[in-house]
Structures are given as structure tokens and as C-alpha cells.
Symmetry: C2
Amino acid sequence: MTTVAYLGPPGTFNDAALQRLRTDARTAPLFGGAHTDAVPAVTPDEALAMVRAGTVDYACVPFENSVDGTINPTSDTLAVGSRLQIFAETELDVVFSILVRPGTTAEDVKVLRTHPVAAAQVRRWVGENLPNARIETTSSTAAGAQEVAGGSADATAAPARAGEINGLVPLAENVADVGGARTRFVLVGRPAPPTPRTGRDRTCVIFGLPHQPNSLVQALTELSIRDIDLTRIGSRPTRVERFTYLFHVDLVGHIDDPVVAEALVALRHRTEDLRYLGSWPVADGEEAGSPPPDHADEKAWLEGLRRGDDV
Amino acid sequence: MTTVAYLGPPGTFNDAALQRLRTDARTAPLFGGAHTDAVPAVTPDEALAMVRAGTVDYACVPFENSVDGTINPTSDTLAVGSRLQIFAETELDVVFSILVRPGTTAEDVKVLRTHPVAAAQVRRWVGENLPNARIETTSSTAAGAQEVAGGSADATAAPARAGEINGLVPLAENVADVGGARTRFVLVGRPAPPTPRTGRDRTCVIFGLPHQPNSLVQALTELSIRDIDLTRIGSRPTRVERFTYLFHVDLVGHIDDPVVAEALVALRHRTEDLRYLGSWPVADGEEAGSPPPDHADEKAWLEGLRRGDDV
């Protein structure tokens, strides 16, 4: 049996993301095919701590949102402590139902309580449509739904399924201040061989930089001179020294792409405390970026020259 | 009279930052010396909208925190809409008092309500010291103090002064999960000539990038080949196209440093929609980074060559 921590309770976007990873033909093998035990956690931190402690095999946690950016509690936790590794990703469209107890009107809503990321994405709609509402935050969208059912809040912004589970009705559906928002979720485990190269893969690293001018450009040039595409870069405070940063970089390719392997070695020399967070297939439907150049025959060519072959 | 919007109500860190900018000999001249009218706002967005609308002269808003990173609501609002400009910065140590109504014990605290950034910085302390507390968020630390005074929350994490203003007493003082945290606040107005170059200045730009591999490295190389130090880089979703980014870059130097001016022109050609957010003096006591090289006599040298001087 495979055990997976996720941001519960049942009915969260994270719950839906985990279902998709379990059923998608490309990622299902990671779960061993047998029964999966989904263990609710309250924060990405808690879910990842369960993986580190060995009480679960994986954590499924939000990684990035197309409107609100990198999910800092996830990336900050991945950046320090024992190394964890990402094995898969999936993406979900983010649209919210505004859920209330039956009989509640728009004017009745004094407190709308939901997850902070959800709050950021319905703020304008709430301002325009719920004249008496203040927005409060809680640990998850489904927790917000439970709190509405329990009467401590009047409304939540959550997936429709959280309403079905908690006996709430939608005051509005498909609400999102910015259309087309998606959240990328990742499946995180303890270090292990990455899933095989597919040709449409992503590799993630985190690193610090020496106190030298231009050290960031020097590091990133190790990617650019090898024609390796960079799809995300973020900086987060180290929390050790004031206004110093750890850089989080997603690049296109797999550790088994020879140029990517070469770039990882070069990056390790240019940076401090380089941490490899894994290589995994890009989610279906998502643009992968330009694939890394294929220098796989380079070694044979070099060996030929060493043998004295006339190549 | 100068009018300045800030995150109120009175007693917030933002209030303290504004007092410091008004009284510091280096930044006081921006306020014209006469009476300053401080106008409380609820979010950075609202404060900056008042500047854009012309109802205030400046907004004083949080820009970056050494533990939690860039303040996204500020930088996202600066990135779009009519151009705004930063004229000054100041930094404050961030330590919290846990404020309660007189007679409240640690066990009595069911709800601690404070600003989200404050919440992130006292979470561990609350977990260890307030056994029955859940953390909720509100618009400001001082609003949290008002809500405690009003009875809708039991405790807040706020500056000590917010307790004095609202008749609360400290359950604990100097609370911070990570020691040495600081927040940088900036003074933002409508476009105008920047304050004069001091030799210890910061310049901020925001830009998008063309869809080409390595466009980020090419852009940053315009700084590195000119020996211009980069002190902060962040990426934020454009919110227009999924998983595309705007880059926020702070560099060392002033638009009146010739190499910085040259780099801004070069960056403009390498990037899309480059937005200049100003050049201003680095806060006292803060490390400025390596100053840009002084190529001020370059123009005279070039003109000499054009005249046919034997130089």
C-alpha cells in the first residue's frame, strides 16, 4: 500500500490533484498499482515533514500557481532540511464555487473564509458581489467549507465538490478574478532514482550564490551556453543572512540528458549548496519549452578520438 | 502640505516607517518640511491607487521582508497600470508584541489575528506558547489590535505601540520566529526627477522577456558586462499568459551613473515593456553592494577622439 499526505480535508483542489496523479496512466505506476491511503495534512510543511519522517511514502503539494506565483511554503520547506525529490506533476484549472448554507443570500455573508491563495483569486469578485463580506483565511478551501457548515463563517470559495461533501449550496460558480488560472501540484518523496527520461521533462534545482558580483549571471550562463531552457526562476530569502537569497530554478530536460547532467555539474561549482529536487515528466498539455540539445553521441566521438579513429 | 497614504490604522509598522522617513534628515526634504497628512489605507493596492488618482502625493508601503521575501501585493501593483516611482526607502527591525486585553492568559487565547506577514513570523512561537490558539489574518497588525480591543479576537501580534493606542497589554514581547528580520518600506509617488545621486543608490526595473531561450541571461548580461551589481531578482506571473513572468530587478547605482544609464538603454532593447521604478538612496546601515564603475569621463574621451585630439 502507498501512503500519500495531501492538503486535506477531502474536497480540496489538492485532493483532486492526487486523484488525477493516481489515475493518470503516466503517473499511476508510482503508486504501485495497489490501494493508496491518502492522509490529510494542514500545511505543505506538515505533509513534507511526514515524508521526511517516513510516516508516508509521498506528499502531494501545490508548487506553483499561474496567478499567484510560486507557493512559498512548499518551496521554502523543500529548500532546507533533508533532501526531498519531486517525481511527478499535474495541473488543475482553478475556478471556485462560492458556497453557503442553504438559504444564505449575498447580503447575509459577513465572513467569507478560504485558503489564502483562493482568497487572492476571488478578492475582486467578493468586493463587487458580497457587499457586507470581509475575507478571512483558513488552512484550506475544504476547511473553509467545513467552517461554513459549522456556522463559524458564512461563505467559502472552494471546489464545487467541497460543497457536496459538506451540504452547502453554490451562491455562484466558476468564480475567478483572473480567467485561466491553473495550479501545478507535485508528488514529493525521499531521494530515489528519478522516473525515466521521456524527452519532455523538467529538472528543478535550488542554490545559493557566492558573494561576488555577477555570480547569478555566471551560474545561469552554465545553462545558456548549453542551450538549456529555463522555465522558472524565483528567489527566496535564505533566512540566515538578511536580504540574501536562495534561487529556485526549473530547467527543461532530465538528469539523463547528457547536457543537463553536464550543466548540473557545472552549476554545482558555480553555486553554493546546490540541491537537486528531481527530474520528472512535464504535465500533459503544458508547454515543455525547447528540449535540450542531444549530445548523446559526444562520448563515443571523444572515445573514437582517444582510440585514434579517423573520425 | 504633503499627503501620504500608508497601511493604517495608527500603530502599524508602516506608521513607524513613515515617521522615520519624515524625520530622517536625508528623506525629510521629500515632504517639503511643512505639515504631513498621513492617510490610512487598508492594502498596498489601495494606498498606491490613491497616488495614481492624485488624491495623495505619496504612498509609504512595505516592499520586501528579509524573512518572507518580496511583498507581492506591492510589487504586483507597481508592475501594471500607470507608472509610479520610488523616491526613498527605510528599514525597520520586525519584532512583535503579543497583545491581549488585560487579564487574558495564554490558555484563554482561542483566536490570534494579525497581518499575514506577521502571522508567518510568529507561527512557531504561537504553536509553542498558545496551546489553544488558531491564527487568523486581517488587514494590518494595528487592525488586529483594534479587533482584540473590540473582543472579536483574543490576541494579536503587533508593534508595542499598537497596544498603547488600543489599551492592550503584552503577553510577550520581542517575539519573532527568526531573529533579525527587517522590513524595507518605500515611498512611492508619480513620475518625477529622482532624488540626486548619492553614490550609494538603488535602481529598480520591471520587465517581461521575449519568448526566446536564454532571454533572461541575455538581459542580465547587460548588467554583468558593465559590472553592475544585482541585489534582488524576483519573478511574478504576468497574469496575462499562463506561467509567463515579469522580472523585478534591483541593481546598485543611480540613473545618473553613466554605466547604469547605458545598461537601462541596453536592457530596454533586450526586454519587453521595461518599466523604470526609480533610483533612490540605500537605507542607512544597509549594505549597498559594489558601486557601479565610474565611466563619467568616457564622454569627454570620446569627444576628444572625435575632435582629433591626441588622447
